[in-house]
């Protein structure tokens, strides 16, 4: 999905010496993959992210997202981006800032409040909801910065130093978030100095220093087919078979079920359901920001 081929970036100021921030970097991040970029401060991580986001253009080499120029991709689909620094005016209140970001992310007016409330809850910012962004602790600021990934369903997520200043609880939250956001059609790129933690939460870590790739960590086998994603099934009749086929499924009521499985497992399961005579009316991937809420009472009526 994200492909950098022999990308170099040189800054040439009007006065002073030019500096090469990236030198012949080639990286490929596939859909379904969580990729890490590690390296010391000033190694070129943020430059690389700037190029991916289309803030800057490479001096040489090519960079494509889904086959498009990055800026064109961003203006067409948007990228969920967590910046290293606060990316909104410091006087804004948390809830207002997230409402504005949701509007710009294209969230429908009728859904904005629910999305913002859900993001605030998921990021553990309930107590900070009415506080101004400038008064947030470093830990809360990092969590606040993760909000774009939850407000809208993006195919590309870019996190710049999300581990900086995180408390143990917030680190757990981030780990859970990465697992939850992983989807077969989504690429996640995380840059951090913390190589050890990156190795834990990503499929592969690329270590860069002074603009060059120094080594690439062992890659976990990730393909769109084996990435677990949440799907919603709607069933006309035969709902009693769903738990037998998908033991971890959650009933949402009115014949709908939420299942977290890989695409390969989903296909096997659907075949099994159809063989059992279950009549399916729809199957769709679920936006990562919407958590399944079991409603057993309603389910009893529906089935």
């Amino acid at each position: 999905m994200i492909e950098l081929s022999h990308v170099s970036k040189t800054y040439a100021p009007t006065f002073g010496r030019s500096a090469r921030a990236l030198d012949d970097v080639s990286i490929r991040v596939a859909a379904g993959e969580v990729a890490g970029i590690s390296g010391p401060a000033g190694s070129g991580k943020s430059t690389l992210l700037s190029l991916v986001l289309g803030h800057e253009r490479p001096t040489s080499g090519t960079l494509r997202i889904d086959g498009m120029d990055p800026r064109r991709f961003v203006e067409r689909e948007g990228i969920a981006y967590q910046p290293q620094r606060l990316g909104v005016p410091r006087r804004w209140r948390v809830v207002d800032a997230l409402t504005r970001l949701a509007m710009l992310a294209g969230v429908r007016a009728s859904e904005t409040r629910a999305r913002v409330d859900s993001a605030i809850r998921d990021l553990g910012l309930v107590e900070e909801r009415r506080r101004r962004v400038k008064s947030l602790s470093q830990d809360a600021r990092v969590r606040f910065g993760l909000a774009p990934a939850l407000l809208a369903d993006r195919r590309v997520i870019v996190l710049d130093e999300p581990l900086d200043g995180l408390s143990t609880e917030s680190l757990e939250l981030l780990r859970g978030l990465v697992v939850r956001l992983r989807a077969f059609d989504r690429a996640i790129l995380i840059a951090s100095r913390d190589t050890a933690e990156l190795q834990r939460i990503t499929d592969r870590v690329t270590f860069i220093d002074r603009g060059r790739i120094r080594r690439i960590g062992a890659q976990r086998p990730v393909t769109p087919a084996n990435v677990e994603t949440v799907f919603q099934l709607t069933i006309h009749h035969g709902g009693e078979h769903v738990v037998a086929v998908f033991p971890t499924s959650i009933s949402l009521g009115r014949g709908t079920y939420s299942v977290r499985v890989s695409v390969a497992a989903l296909n096997r399961g659907l075949r099994d359901l159809i063989d059992r005579g279950v009549l399916l009316t729809s199957v769709a991937p679920v936006n990562a920001t919407i958590e399944p809420v079991p409603t057993p009472a309603m389910d009893a009526v529906a089935t």
Binding site: S50, V74, A80, Y81, P83, G87, G106, P148, A152
Partner: protein, 251 residues
Amino acid sequence: MKARTAAYAGVQLGDYLTGRGLLALMLTALAAWGYGVVNGLTLSVFDPSASMETREQLQQAFDVLLAAFALVAAALSAQSLVARHRRRRYDRVLFSNAVSPVRYYAQGFVLAGLGSALLGAAAAEVYAVAVHPISLAGTAAYLVLAWLSIGSLAFLLSVLTPWHTPVLIALLGADLAVDRLVTALHSDGRGGAAIDLAQYLLPPGHVIVALASSFSRGLIVDPRVLAWPVVFGILALVAALLLLRRRPFGT
């Protein structure tokens, strides 16, 4: 994408009215107080039975303040349009969404102009009721004209440089100084085509200031006088949008 930017229009207008617009009004109020002190205007000028001379004094005061508000509002417009977003890197988060920087800032520019006209007209209405009758339509039209000419220049400078405000003040100051010089030379019979042409190298600030009186009185203005500020404004606006399209993040 269009819908996303359009949906944000209310927020942009609200930001202008409660931020830069309000600041422009407050600065103008401060200027009004200073003008009153310097010219010895006291509360007695608000007496309904005031003389014609006093009425004219009030009209002149309004014209000066209208020109001041128009220039201050236009100058402040650039504060949040592009340069501050770049300096503080707000643009990086804003435009990681499927939002075009050109469309976003163009919309912001139009809405700030509308906000300036609304605020100025509202303040003029209060003035007209409480102090002295003036043309509301003329006042609003004047603010739009000032916005188009000087506001567009402020917008262009905001795209070009982080030092847009001092550069704008320097350009406007130079324009007003050259205008005084030209007027003095003409009155001495020493004016020439060359010095007149020199004024076209600077923004039409002096034209905007001079037009305040005609617009606030609701007089018909010679279209040839309007040509320079309108053409200047359109050229500056087009240049700003083209530059934004080419280098949306200034990098």
